[in-house]
Amino acid sequence: MHLDELIIGQYFPGNSLLHRADPRLKITAVFIYVAGLFLAGGFAGLLIMAAGLLLALAQARVPPRWLYRSVRPVAALLLLTFLFQLFLHGGPVLGRIGPVPIYRDGAREGGYLALRLLLLVLAGIVLSLTTPPVALTDAFGKMMAPLAKLKVPAYELALMMTIALRFIPTLLMEADRIIKAQAARGASLASGGPARRARALLPVLIPLFILSFKDADELAMAMESRCWRGGKGRTSRRRLRLGPVDAMFALLAAVVVAGGVAIGRTSGF
């Protein structure tokens, strides 16, 4: 896999309102937005919330190609959700696919649930596209910091996230190297049935696991040699302060979610 194809944690650089907003606020906004999606209760509400999200994406100048690439992996799930609901509900017949009737309530419910799922996924994608992974983990660490009083290793959890994100490309590159080395010696990962393909993966996975353990061991040593003693007494290079941009972002997010929920619950559509 080429690194350009990697979606997880992919950041689209920019200077928009979304990009500049405090990552803690953005994470909170995503949680509230998702809650709003479940409270909206009608198409009209979802459409307002979708419009808010699309406006934010346009303002952040995220190219549609990036969105398409991000949504593509869940396209099958969206379609399945729609089709499943399509045949579960009754109501007037809208049309037929061969001998199978399409009911109005099924189409409506399928469309509603698929749209809600799409917006839920998009909200997460917007967060990761407009926030550098390091800012995200930093924000998670800071948001979880009060939990340290309850002996939750908040900082360590945030560091685990950082390291996991940091090593995804490294492991992908190592896997790619192993696959090429095995292919050069005649191994074929792309031919045969599922059982054969699964078996063929073993010579890739075993060296990858060994390399990962070696990397983990060396990383632990490098961290210790640089005075790592856990989160206690540690300071941070990044300081997060709320400013006017954050106030504007919070206001707009509140308008979109509150508007969506209010209209969704009262419009009857």
Partner: protein
């Protein structure tokens, strides 16, 4: 021989790994004075990396003592001071970069020391400029070249302002150009007063150091001037180390008079490299 008090002192140090019959280090005693540049050479398995890990308290000796700036690594209360005093750079930069960006990785050690954010910012900027990373502070590590990655690791170590820098074969994964660049940076640091302990099995790098320690089967088999070491063939054979290219060329030229002359440049190079 040494005018300054030793910043590193090993006294009869022995170390063995579990389930391995032979000792990795066997009765090693040595001293390194503040401001020295010492190259530690040895074939694979000679105990170089084990020695490096003892300097920073990552490993503790089975017998004997390791003193850093007069403090024993066995005492856990000394570990913070020892790790602030001795910074380490290992062979593979890929597995030493902790953070998701160059700047954050340089800051990692400083954050562990509990420095205020302003000071961390300043030191990150300084280290970034010094090691040619100023424009790459927000770059993710997987987009860096091998040389840039190793410079990031070096910058992270140097930003902590250690008195000693221990480098365990840091250039072995670099291309010749990056290796030369990296060595120049290490020399600059030494000239600015940092004590450097450089572990390598590349004899061309070792030969440039003012002092050399050769390890063989966990024991110190030589400690002194590299000129002296490379003029003793028996010692080189005993330690399984090959002389640097310049030494081989000098010997070849010295013995060339007794052989029929090489007729082509290719033949001359072939003979010199044999």
């Amino acid at each position: 021989m040494m005018s300054q008090p030793p910043i590193i002192s090993l006294k009869s140090v022995t170390f063995g790994y579990p389930d391995v019959r032979s000792l990795a280090l066997d009765g090693v005693s040595l001293e390194v004075a503040a401001g020295e540049f010492v190259a530690v050479a040895g074939a694979n398995g000679s105990g170089k990396s084990t020695l490096a890990r003892l300097f920073n308290g990552l490993l503790l000796p089975g017998a004997g003592n390791v003193l850093i700036d007069g403090k024993n690594t066995r005492d856990r209360e000394n570990l913070n001071h020892i790790r602030e005093t001795v910074a380490m750079v290992f062979q593979n930069p890929e597995s030493q970069i902790v953070a998701a960006t160059v700047g954050d990785d340089i800051a990692f050690g400083l954050e562990n020391l509990g420095l205020p954010a302003e000071q961390i910012g300043l030191r990150v900027q300084e280290a970034g400029c010094r090691f040619g990373l100023a424009g790459l502070l927000d770059r993710e590590p997987h987009w860096l070249s091998g040389g840039q990655k190793q410079r990031t690791v070096l910058a992270g170590a140097v930003a902590m302002e250690p008195r000693v820098l221990v480098l365990d074969e840091p250039a072995s994964m670099l291309d010749p150009c990056s290796r030369k660049e990296f060595m120049a940076l290490v020399r600059d640091l030494w000239q600015d007063g940092t004590t450097v302990v450089y572990l390598s099995h590349d004899m061309d790098e070792v030969a440039r150091a003012p002092r050399m320690i050769a390890l063989s089967e966990g024991k110190v088999s030589f400690d002194g001037d590299p000129h002296d070491f490379f003029s003793r063939e028996g010692l080189m054979a005993e330690t399984n180390l090959r002389p640097p290219l310049a030494v081989r060329l000098s010997r070849f030229l010295a013995s060339a008079g007794s052989k029929p002359p090489a007729l082509t440049l290719a033949e001359l190079v072939k003979r010199a490299c044999a």
